[in-house]
């Protein structure tokens, strides 16, 4: 499979899950394991352009696929607009859900460059944040969407309009 643009040819045990392959075989520990049963979304990665939960995805099923993880979204050390949005709009507290949130958001913006607030909330509905940071995460995605369209991001909530 190709992971973040690099091709890997490996023999894996049939029971290896994609998240275990990424974390243990390739050392890409940015993809987290949360609930282990595909409820929480911490393990979200993008396979062939679609967000999936890698904790219940067999590695052998990704044979030949194009896989992207949170390690692959920044280019040459420059943060992806979604990462920049999480930074600028305080889209994280503990950070555990963040890799999954970022991958769901990246997948959304590739399909829909101008999502409304409702569309953003639906796009991240399969990702749980236990710090209850959803509000700022939505603002982070709005920031990224504007940036990717070449527009000025909306002012942060905490800035009082003059």
């Amino acid at each position: 499979m190709t992971v973040n643009g690099t091709r890997y040819d490996r023999d894996v045990e049939p029971r290896t899950l994609l998240v275990h392959f990424l974390r243990e075989e390739l050392g890409l520990t940015g993809t987290h394991v949360g609930c282990d049963t595909s409820y929480c979304g911490a393990c979200t990665v993008i396979v062939d352009g679609r967000s999936v939960k890698s904790c219940t995805y067999l590695a052998v099923a990704a044979d030949g696929a194009d896989v992207r993880t949170v390690e692959g979204v920044a280019v040459d050390g420059t943060l992806h607009p979604v990462q920049e949005g999480f930074w600028e709009r305080h889209g994280l507290q503990c950070g555990f859900c963040t890799p999954g949130m970022i991958m769901s958001s990246v997948a959304l913006l590739e399909q829909n460059p101008a999502p409304g607030e409702g569309e953003i909330r639906h796009a991240i509905e399969g990702n749980l944040c236990r710090c209850t940071g959803y509000h700022n995460i939505v603002r982070a995605v709005e920031y990224a969407a504007a940036k990717m369209r070449g527009e000025e991001p909306p002012a942060p909530d905490w800035e009082v309009p003059s």
């Binding site: 045990e13 049939p14 029971r15 899950l17 275990h20 394991v33 282990d36 049963t37 595909s38 409820y39 979304g41 979200t44 679609r50 967000s51 999936v52 939960k53 219940t56 995805y57 067999l58 052998v60 099923a61 769901s104 639906h122 796009a123 509905e125 399969g126 990702n127 749980l128």
Partner: protein, 323 residues
Amino acid sequence: MLRLPVVRHVAPTSLDEVIELLAGDGAMLAAGGTDLVPNLKRRQYPEAKTIVSLRRVAGLDGVSVADGGTIRIGALTTVARLATDDAVPEALREAAGAVASPQLRNRGTVGGNLCVDTRCHWLNVPDTWRQAAEPCLKAGGEMCWVAPAKKICWAVSSSDLAPAMIALDASVRLVGPDGERTAPVGELYRDDGLVHLAKAPNEILVEVIVPAPQGRRAGYRKLRRRGSIDFPILGVAASFRLEDGRVNDPRLVLGAVASSPVRVTAAEELLAGRPLTDALIAEAAELAGKSVRPMSNTDLTSRYRKRMVPVFVRRLLEDLAAD
């Protein structure tokens, strides 16, 4: 971290090979794997030896509409595609859009959701938790923790698509070692938490056939604790045509209240041929509520879930009447 048990994995390219492999000891069929893999991680299938993947068999995905308006949906079509394809009737799109979460809809398939295993609080937990008590019937034991008086498994039918498909009079095409057959979706199920599918283990659901809607009004409503992720703890699907202001060919189907989807024939008979007034809707909703007895085996209390049946039926019928 939960890991899978040691299993083999085979992904043949022909249906014949899949059927042959499924006859083997401990063979488990996988499409998207979003139901099978978590269940395997929780060691719910101790007999599992081989995962037989359908994914390399060509021609099993896609949505097409025939000249007469009949809609054919391949079993490997993703739930996400079903939720967004304009050729798919709105009721099915609603049901598909309510399945799990975006990531699982991208991976899970139509055939997989129709065949999704029955669920129960006593079973869908990691095996270390399950070992704390005597195993229930579905875990290979001799008793049921939900209703210990009888040796019956009450695990809940948890498909969102099944009630909607039944309400739309859809059929499934199954291919097995002795050839193929077509059956109404409702006949795919048995009201038995242990063996909930009325098909041989090596019969494969390859396609769903939805008749042309021809003015049929239809919808699906779902109850669950959260607005996403969760399996249904009540699903309500209804459909009918209005002819001269009167209800024609009504169908009312409940999901997640038994081990199979439940058609409320008493309410259908009440609705048929009558003008769809608020009073009639209320009466049909009450009949639906009386027709089922949810058990204490899934999220929220059985009492609350039973009380929500008439509420959800009434709301759906009111919405459809106003369409």
